[in-house]
């Protein structure tokens, strides 16, 4: 096959602002993050754009979440930290702008003298500390917390705290979270790939070992060794291949300037809100067209938020919605008696693969290859991986034709 000549982005994207933090071999009092901010602010001012104009971020080793929070860039629908400088960042941003993932992207890269490569840097004790990656891995990227452990509102600790806040604010008990867990387990019973398939009763759920109140062992994803992979190509080409194409009708990322987990202002500021807003704006499909729904439930409360954010119900109504659409006879959720949720068993029962399993199952269903758990006539899937902060994502997939 000859090399592709396809270039629909030709002349469609331009560089409109330039910014720089001065190059130096003797700079003190700087961090990788502060260097990026120097350049980012200069570039935005050069272009005459404000924080509200920027909806895409792409950088090298300093996390986009750091730059977004540090510059108060309230809402971005696309962000990436690809590895290869600087072409990787530029082409990713060109693709993102051209494809409609964002309108205006801020792209950056910094260099930082490491102690092993520079004698003067080796004399800087804070640079030596920075090399160690303390306290948790994300802190090396400028996100996360400078301290880890039982007194840090990091990762699972924070999801538990937000789950508690949700139950408190909207008057739910833990049994509301339990419905999410039981739904996953019931569906997993029809999935040979699921690691936990035996039925889970509400009594079992409520007796589960408490780990991070209000999240028990049944509310948190199951660690597995696993992998999923996907081949992606143009629809035109896909139609010539062996398998039925699953069309990506619309997709979006979402992130807000939350900073660290406990600084998320409230659930109206979760990245999920940006995803849903952008996803429906880009789509010709509506929620009523969805046949199967895959809300991520690596922590059970995350799924309740997805029900709300994609539009099935309002803020705080996710718990009531799940109960209203609970089919006791089947021990699972069927929205309007028709639309199943996490047909594979999700991260809580199939196994935790951070949403990849959800996407895989949605594709299986749309190809009509889900075997005993096939949803008859499934033609539109809504897949929403990710939680509240840096990993909110949404996909509307549909069967071809």
């Amino acid at each position: 096959m000859s090399p592709s000549r396809r270039n629909p982005a030709r002349d469609q994207v331009a560089i409109v602002g330039l910014g720089r933090s001065p190059y130096g071999r003797d700079r003190v009092g700087c961090t990788p993050g502060s260097l990026v901010l120097d350049a980012a602010i200069a570039a935005a001012r050069d272009a005459g754009v404000a924080a509200t104009d920027i909806d895409g971020l792409c950088g090298s080793t300093v996390a986009t979440a750091y730059v977004q929070a540090a510059l108060g860039i309230g809402r971005v629908s696309w962000f990436a930290n690809p590895a290869s400088v600087i072409g990787n960042q530029i082409v990713a941003a060109v693709a993102a702008v051209h494809s409609g993932m964002c309108e205006t992207a801020l792209v950056y890269h910094n260099a930082y003298r490491m102690p092993f490569a520079s004698r003067s840097a080796g004399r800087d004790p804070m640079r030596r500390r920075a090399m160690l990656g303390l306290a948790e891995t994300r802190s090396a990227w400028g996100t996360g917390h400078a301290e880890s452990g039982a007194n840090s509102m990091f990762g699972a600790n924070a999801y538990a705290a937000w789950a508690g806040r949700y139950l408190h604010d909207y008057g739910y008990g833990r049994d509301t979270l339990g419905l999410v867990a039981i739904n996953s387990r019931t569906n997993a019973g029809r999935n040979d790939n699921a690691v936990y398939r035996e039925p889970l009763t509400m009594q079992d759920y409520l007796a589960g070992r408490m780990v991070r109140d209000p999240l028990s062992v049944y509310d948190m994803d199951i660690p597995v060794d696993a992998a999923d992979a996907f081949i992606i190509t143009t629809t035109e080409r896909a139609r010539d291949l062996a398998r039925p194409p699953v069309l990506i009708h619309a997709s979006s990322l979402g992130s807000t300037d939350y900073g660290i987990e406990e600084q998320l202002l409230d659930l109206d500021h979760a990245g999920q809100v940006v995803v849903a807003e952008r996803l429906w704006a880009k789509s010709e499909l509506e929620l009523a067209d969805v046949d199967v729904f895959y809300p991520y439930e690596g922590f059970s409360n995350i799924a309740l938020s997805w029900f709300e954010n994609v539009g099935y119900c309002g803020r705080g109504e996710g718990g009531a919605f799940v109960r209203q659409h609970w089919v006791e006879r089947e021990q699972r959720i069927l929205i309007d008696g028709r639309i199943p949720v996490n047909t594979h068993g999700g991260s809580l029962s199939e196994g935790g693969t951070q949403g990849a399993g959800h996407l895989y199952e949605a594709c299986l269903q749309l190809r009509g290859e889900a075997g005993v758990r096939q949803v008859p006539g499934a033609s539109v899937a809504l897949v929403t991986p990710g939680g509240y902060y840096f990993n909110s994502q949404g996909f509307l997939l549909r069967r071809d034709g």
Binding site: C30, G33, M126, E147, A150, M153, A161, D213
Partner: protein, 143 residues
């Protein structure tokens, strides 16, 4: 105080140029939060720009140290090296400081029965000295 002394006081913590003033303050039992010299807004964790107006002129400023619990969990499981007693349940909270909506610090609540803690409860910041770990911000009940 030299940078080496500051780092030595906080083993296991990612002390850097952005947050050196915060950790230096803890050694003097003070909680210093970055405040913008131009628009007076507060920011945490410490970074080198004002997220509101992009000013690079920030001053680590002492906070009153009072606030409200806005997030609460009780940890029942963790590794021994985390230095907490999980058998009784270890409370972990985020506290919104009175200075500004959304300005929050995380930590535990000292001397509190975790079963009695509630969202919305008023607490006060305490700088706690931990053996081998350096001082850190935690909280105690106001009443």
């Amino acid at each position: 105080m030299t940078q080496d002394e500051l780092l030595d006081a906080f083993p296991g913590v990612r002390v850097d140029q952005d947050n050196a003033a915060y950790y230096g303050g803890l050694l003097e039992d003070r909680v210093l939060v970055n405040r913008c010299d131009d628009c007076a807004s507060w920011h945490h964790p410490p970074r080198s720009a004002c997220a509101r107006c992009w000013s690079r002129s920030l001053t680590p400023t002492a906070v009153a140290g009072t606030g409200t619990i806005v997030l609460l969990t009780v940890l029942h499981q963790g590794s021994r090296k985390e230095g907490a007693d999980f058998s009784a349940g270890h409370p972990l909270v985020a506290v919104e400081l009175d200075e500004q909506p959304g300005l929050r610090l995380g930590g535990t609540v000292l001397g509190a029965d975790p079963a009695t803690l509630q969202l919305g409860e008023r607490v006060r910041v305490v700088v706690r000295r931990l053996e081998g770990r350096g001082p850190r911000v935690d909280f105690e009940r106001m009443s």
